[in-house]
């Protein structure tokens, strides 16, 4: 029986003691239709003047016929999106113990500064002499990132982490080809985030997985046995996705370099070591950073992010355009493959990069300073270890001993309870928490990866640990009804993802009837 069908039948069996309302609304939780279902033809939420008559120059390509958009007034639009927002969990509302995501507080100062007209209302292609402050800001951000990573060059244009990975792997491939030694394989740990093998394959490489050893680190012997003259790079995350520092990383870097390959580091977990360890000192050649993780730019429900890439001197000549250089007349933006930028791999994105995120990240970094950033890493690691010791007696810790900024559990503690990791996570939602990362990394069964970050108080951690402990106790004592139907207190119960994938409905259409209870 699929999880979906079980949720359905558990619901039928459960006595939900909430009164039915006439409206279908439940207090502050409003059933909100789509904007297309609230159309008042002719209404408009923006007052625009009608231009005086003029001769069209559209060349007989006028749009004829309706577009199909709804007409709404401003109050309706504001109410609609306000109501939608009230159905969302957010960092502002509660803890996100999501391993690998670094869901930390998003300072509002960052939002204010990104909206300064001198930063928000400047065009990437207006004369560069009219935007010296923008170049200065990018240069300042670059300096901070170089200092924190110890690397001599930063490529700022990638649009997010995965894009940064692509950028890094492209520079590696360009460097190898320039040396007349194109290679075919990339080594990727089995614990890696899915973007790693996807990126390597996108760059034309064959992906060769490396297993983890029983301590949760990459198996160095297996890795070294797979190194050869056809290996272009190792893609490693450090600390790794099990929340552990790769203690043999220097030896691994040496082995990779001896084989003539490059060492790519996925910097998603930089929050654990920022200000305490410089990636360059670990032998890393190339590392992307997630400004929307370590450097607090908001997740926004799925972006925008920013994924700048720190590059060693061997890879810097291949960085994508544009380059910001210190020229004779001050800062210059090099936008084409000329001079030293002649070896650049070209452009990865339109224009210059996610400037709005640069402003936010720089404001964050300046607010913390060198001392604050070091404290960030320490508190992140402290918080994760605190949760580890609070939970390890009741949940099954995958790898014994201290962790870094995130702690990994697996589903052995749920064995024979009939409760899966998924059920556990859904019950946590009813308790008022977004679940931890589930089923990742793949190296353990039913993974639960918890990363509190440094912006959570001790009290929050105590409360969270108490709830998780209570849930694990409930699962093991047979009090399992709360799990199978969960969540029941949320705006929506478990959703039928099977039906969504079998018969995809990816947009509203006027003739589509609303789906009611399952037929």
């Amino acid at each position: 029986m699929s999880e979906w069908s079980r949720a359905l039948s558990a619901h039928a069996a459960q006595d939900i003691a909430a009164p039915k309302t006439f409206s279908g609304n439940r207090g502050l939780q409003i059933e909100e239709k789509l904007i297309f279902e609230q159309d008042s033809p002719g209404l408009c939420g923006v007052n625009l003047p009608e231009p005086a008559a003029f001769a069209s120059r559209l060349g007989e390509l006028e749009r004829v016929g309706p577009i199909g958009l709804p007409g709404l007034s401003e109050p309706q639009v504001v109410r609609h999106f306000t109501r939608l927002s009230q159905k969302n969990y957010a960092i502002d509302s509660g803890l996100y113990p999501l391993g690998s995501c670094t869901m930390k507080h998003n300072p509002r100062l960052n939002e204010k500064l990104a909206r300064l007209t001198g930063l928000a209302d400047i065009h990437p292609l207006q004369p560069l002499s009219t935007v010296p402050g923008a170049l200065e800001l990018i240069d300042t951000l670059t300096h901070w990132l170089k200092t924190l990573t110890g690397m001599p060059a930063i490529a700022l244009s990638p649009g997010a982490g995965a894009h940064g990975e692509l950028c890094g792997m492209m520079t590696i491939r360009a460097a190898l080809e320039a040396g007349g030694d194109p290679r075919r394989r990339v080594l990727v740990p089995e614990s890696a985030h899915g973007t790693n093998p996807a990126t390597a394959a996108a760059c034309g490489y064959a992906v060769d997985p490396i297993p983890a050893n029983e301590c949760g680190r990459v198996d160095r012997a297996a890795l070294e046995s797979k190194l050869g003259p056809d290996v272009a790079a190792l893609m490693l995350t450090n600390p790794n996705t099990c929340g552990l520092f790769e203690d043999e990383i220097v030896e691994i870097a040496d082995a990779v370099h001896r084989a003539g390959a490059f060492f790519y580091c996925d910097g998603a977990n930089f929050n654990a070591i920022v200000g305490r360890v410089r990636p360059a000192d670990l032998g890393i050649d190339c590392m992307h950073l997630n400004l929307h993780k370590t450097f607090s730019t908001p997740h926004g429900g799925g972006g925008p992010g920013s994924g700048p890439v720190a590059l060693a001197g061997t890879l810097a000549p291949y960085a994508p355009l544009p380059w910001l250089v210190h020229g004779e007349q001050g800062l210059e933006l090099v936008e084409y493959k000329s001079g030293p930028a002649g070896t650049a791999i070209g452009r990865l994105k339109g224009y210059h990069g996610q400037m709005g995120m640069f402003v936010r990240a720089l404001a964050y970094m300046m607010s913390h300073g060198a001392d604050g950033l070091q404290q960030v890493a320490e508190d992140a690691v402290l918080n994760a270890n605190y949760l580890r010791v609070l939970l390890e007696d009741n949940l099954s810790l995958s790898f014994p001993g201290p962790c870094m900024h995130e702690v990994l559990f697996d589903d052995r503690f749920l064995r024979d309870t009939g409760v899966t990791t998924l059920d556990f996570a859904k019950a946590l939602i009813d308790e008022g928490y977004h679940p931890m990362t589930m089923y990742f990394p793949l190296v353990v069964h039913g993974a639960l990866l918890i990363e509190p970050t440094e912006t959570e108080s001790k009290a929050t951690l105590d409360e969270f640990a108490a709830v998780v402990t209570a849930l694990s106790g409930a699962a093991r004592s047979g009090d399992t009804e709360r799990f199978h139907a969960a969540p029941i207190l949320t705006p929506r119960r478990r959703l039928d993802e099977t039906a969504a994938a079998r018969k995809p409905v990816l947009r509203w259409r006027p003739e589509l009837p609303r789906r009611e209870a399952a037929d």
Partner: protein
């Protein structure tokens, strides 16, 4: 119709006249969860034993289906496009994927029979 034979990748194959019918096993479908889509080759396409012949997708996973024997695709199960749930409901019957005109019936001999496959599955746990 011959008795089905099984692969270590949880595919089954049986002969129906001069065609080999192929699908995934009950164990495979239970591991995948609800099947949402099956990507099948075109008739006329050649498949090689041990190489990818199809892809089966559930909500949470996508798995390659490898050809248990080599041959040319004679027919594919068009019914799966409209109702991929057949793979879950009746994996060895209505949930069949494709029928091949095979090169060499001897290739089935190297595969597990039902009893051997059951033992193999038990060892997975």
């Amino acid at each position: 119709m011959s008795a089905p034979r099984f692969t270590k990748d949880h595919e089954w194959v049986r002969l129906e006249g001069d065609l080999a019918v192929i699908g995934i096993t009950d164990y495979a479908q239970s591991q995948l969860g609800d099947v949402v889509y099956v990507e099948l080759p075109e008739p006329g396409h050649r498949v090689e034993q041990g190489k990818e012949a199809a892809v089966v997708e559930s909500v949470k996973a996508a798995s390659e289906v490898y050809a248990p024997v080599s041959g040319e695709v004679a027919e594919v199960n068009d019914g799966l496009a409209a109702d991929p749930a057949k793979v879950n409901a009746d994996p060895l019957g209505e949930g069949w994927f494709m029928k091949l005109r095979i090169d060499d019936a001897g290739q089935l001999d190297g595969l597990m029979d039902e009893a051997a496959y059951q033992r193999f599955v038990e060892e997975q746990h």
